[in-house]
């Protein structure tokens, strides 16, 4: 028996490349029988926003955050060689040509395999994201640090 059957991934980054790594590892681990939880925090939280949603009133700074940060897997960008979007576009083109699953497909696979997504309440609060803005995902919940530590205990932890 392997030492660890539980994997917790902290998705800190909001970059396309790093989020790809998060979801490739998460789906691979879930497909290998591990219990997997993704814990988004800071910029990673942006990935889970819907393109359109109705929200309660936001402050001026919250509106700027909301406008400047990406919404969902279509809008996240590469951490390097983005070149105003040309790099991200080229990468997506190459992935499609080479039959590599894109972030949307990986997120769908994660949902099908029962990967849990946990969203950091404090990041949401800080950036002014509201629960109404979050995507529909079967196993989505909200957490604080104690919840994360409890989930991560005795398992593998990755910070991406």
């Amino acid at each position: 028996m392997s030492q660890s059957k539980k994997l917790s991934i902290i998705a800190f980054s909001g970059d396309l490349d790093k989020l790809m790594a998060v979801f490739i590892i998460a789906t691979g681990a879930a497909a290998s029988g591990m219990q997997v939880g993704i814990f988004t925090t800071f910029w990673g939280t942006s990935l889970l926003r819907k393109i359109k949603s109705k929200t309660k009133k936001k402050s001026f700074i919250e509106k700027i955050f909301a406008a400047l940060l990406p919404k969902g897997p279509h809008q996240v960008r590469l951490s390097r060689l983005n070149m105003f979007g040309i790099g991200s576009w080229s990468m997506k083109y190459l992935m499609k040509k080479k039959n590599i699953a894109n972030l949307e497909k990986l997120m769908q696979a994660a949902e099908d395999l029962g990967v849990k997504i946990n969203v950091c309440e404090m990041s949401m609060n800080m950036m002014g994201f509201q629960r109404e803005e979050m995507i529909d995902y079967k196993d989505l919940s909200y957490y604080g640090i104690a919840g994360f530590l409890n989930q991560a205990r005795d398992g593998m932890v990755l910070f991406i």
Binding site: S2, I24, T27, G28, A30, A31, S32, G33, K98, N99, I100, A101, K105, L106, A109, D112, L113
Partner: protein, 73 residues
Amino acid sequence: MEIVDATKVQCPMPIVKLAQAMKSLQVGQKVKIQAVDLAFEADIHAWCEQTHNLLIEFSAENGIFTAIIEKQN
């Protein structure tokens, strides 16, 4: 025998498809999977070890890997 076609996907989708196909099988039933992902040979051995399933047959021909796995649990 159930057949999983993973010849049009890359890592990690072959094992994702395989795991999904395994769910509907009973212990002792077999599944055949074909893939072209170059990591598949190493991955399928690792996957079987990790999930305690039995790799009965493995072959590579014209760039296509074929594996037959028996569900053990």
